[in-house]
């Protein structure tokens, strides 16, 4: 079991760190710590950034001292009594995805690379439930865990200058969705009409850490219809 350490990240942030690991257990603890601290509404806390392995807590030292905040984090962590899991209901988002063709230009190449057929790749990719470990890099960019290593493949040797929003890709052992148009080196296998980032929306970002995602294959006609009508997404 990873031990939590509370370390200073400058004079107005502390990081509750569980070590250099990617594990679902650690990530659940990070998430639970964030939710508990959020519910406690600790005065002087102005930001929390959960990652795979740590929770960064930014505070105003004029309102709460480092020592006091450190005690609050410690006390919150003790309450979990070891193996406390996420208390909230599991949220699974079903994300329609149109695989291959012009929607996923690298699917054919990935088939060649892995020795699988395109359909096998789709079945594997859509047959897995992915945990959202954290968000970062871009607004709404999800770091997903749990991809089957049979469909892992190195990033493209020369990254694309612009990848359209909604592109679903594979980079190394990871899969993810580009929330906005961006340069990038992941192999594109499909595209979703769901907006992972919409600055005009009340909740600009679709997912939060601790959610789960399942991709649901849809044909091009369905993709275009959802894109036009505004894609709904199902929460199970």
């Amino acid at each position: 079991m990873a031990e939590m350490k509370i370390l200073p990240a400058g004079d107005r942030a502390l990081v509750a760190d569980f070590g250099n690991v990617i594990s679902e257990d650690v990530n659940r603890k990070v998430n639970a710590l964030k939710k508990t601290l959020l519910a406690e509404k600790v005065a002087g806390v102005r930001e929390m950034i959960p990652t795979y392995r740590s929770l960064l807590v930014e505070y105003n030292p004029a309102v709460i001292s480092m020592q006091e905040l450190s005690r609050r984090i410690e006390a919150t962590a003790i309450k979990w009594d070891g193996a406390t899991a996420e208390t909230e209901k599991k949220r699974v988002l079903e994300i329609p995805c149109c695989y291959g063709g012009k929607y996923g230009e690298d699917l054919a190449g990935l088939a060649e690379l892995t020795g699988l057929s395109e359909q096998e790749i789709i079945d594997i990719h859509a047959g897995t439930e992915y945990r959202v470990y954290m968000l970062g890099f871009l607004p709404g960019f999800v770091y997903l865990g749990g991809m089957d290593e049979r469909i892992a493949a190195p990033r493209l040797s020369s990254p694309r200058v612009s990848i359209p929003a909604g592109s679903v890709g594979i980079g190394g052992g990871q899969t993810g969705v580009y929330p906005m148009a961006s340069p990038g080196g992941w192999r594109l296998i499909g595209r979703t009409p769901v907006q992972f980032y919409d600055p005009a929306a009340e909740n600009p970002v679709l997912c939060e850490a601790g959610d789960y995602i399942r991709f649901v294959p849809v044909p091009p006609g369905e993709y275009e219809r959802l894109k036009k009508e505004g894609a709904p997404w199902a929460s199970l």
Binding site: P8, M134, V205
Partner: protein
């Protein structure tokens, strides 16, 4: 009612204290680089609620006021002129409708701030008026200002200056900033830490609002500096595989995968915000406890 941008300068944006409580969604805080200059500018014109101001970089903007306003110019010395008359920095100054305010090249420092009583009245996005150019978010249409833009300002409310003034700071080209080690100092050898805390590093021209890249001796790590991503704060000093440190600034990404040798304390960030390419910086170790004491003064 507003301020017409006649010429914007290379990078002039609307900024405030930054966008918080959305970093867990991958949204960067943005906000002003030099919060000391920004806060002084706001205080001088009677703004007390984190009103948005203009941040200008290296070369200032030329602006035409469509209505009267109280303004204050702070930060870098950009030799501002109001209809050809020099404008005193760090003072509240009266501008009447139709006057032109022209900022020139930064003679000392590199980022100038202009606050207006009531603030630049762009709509807040996720609780902030700061511009995030990368995400096309906030500020004036999510971008740097262009000629022809009209910045909305608040209607005058009869406020008059309180007599507050500040001594304008002088930005040194060789500076020292205090750093709290960590959170990943154990990734570096004793020699690497010694190098970081003794060498003079030069600000690379390849620096921007996202980060200051530094040239100087490489920092030795134990076995590489790749880490499982963790959160980033303004002032974090990360060391990529090449061993050259990068100080992450206002537009930093929310998370990163390089070990951070230390974090510059908030009191010293304004010095770095005003650093110009070619300036040198030394890092001085301070404990987290001693840094806390500074807030009590």
């Amino acid at each position: 009612m507003g301020i017409l941008v006649k010429s914007p300068g290379p990078l002039t944006t609307v900024q405030d204290e930054g966008r918080f409580f959305h970093q867990s969604s991958g949204i960067r805080p943005s906000g002003v680089m030099d919060d000391a200059a920004y806060e002084a500018a706001n205080a001088l014109v009677g703004n007390g609620n984190g009103e948005a101001a203009l941040e200008m970089t290296f070369l200032g903007a030329t602006l035409e006021f469509q209505s009267a306003a109280w303004i204050a110019a702070t930060g870098a010395d950009m030799r501002a002129k109001l209809d050809d008359a020099p404008v005193e920095r760090y003072r509240a100054v009266r501008v009447v409708a139709g006057q032109a305010l022209a900022f020139g090249m930064a003679m000392n420092g590199c980022r100038g701030y202009l606050a207006v009583h009531g603030g630049i009245d762009v709509p807040p996005v996720m609780g902030s008026r700061s511009t995030d150019i990368g995400a096309s978010l906030g500020g004036f249409q999510g971008r740097a200002l262009k000629a022809g833009d009209v910045l909305p300002t608040m209607k005058e409310d009869g406020w008059t200056p309180t007599g507050l003034n500040y001594e304008p700071p002088v930005y040194e080209s060789a500076m020292a900033v205090r750093v709290i080690p960590g959170p990943q100092e154990e990734y570096f050898t004793a020699k690497g830490l010694e190098t970081f805390f003794s060498a003079a590093y030069e600000i690379s021209p390849n620096s921007d609002r996202m980060g200051l890249r530094l040239e100087g001796p490489e920092i030795e790590s134990r076995s590489g500096t790749d880490i499982v991503s963790d959160g980033i704060v303004f002032g974090a000093v990360q060391v990529p595989s090449g061993g050259k440190p990068i100080v992450l600034m206002a537009d930093h990404q929310t998370t990163g995968g390089y070990a951070k040798i230390g974090t510059v304390i908030s009191f010293d960030l304004p010095k770095l915000a005003q650093a110009r390419p070619g300036d040198t910086v030394r890092f001085v170790r301070i404990s987290a406890e001693d840094a806390q004491e500074l807030y009590k003064k």
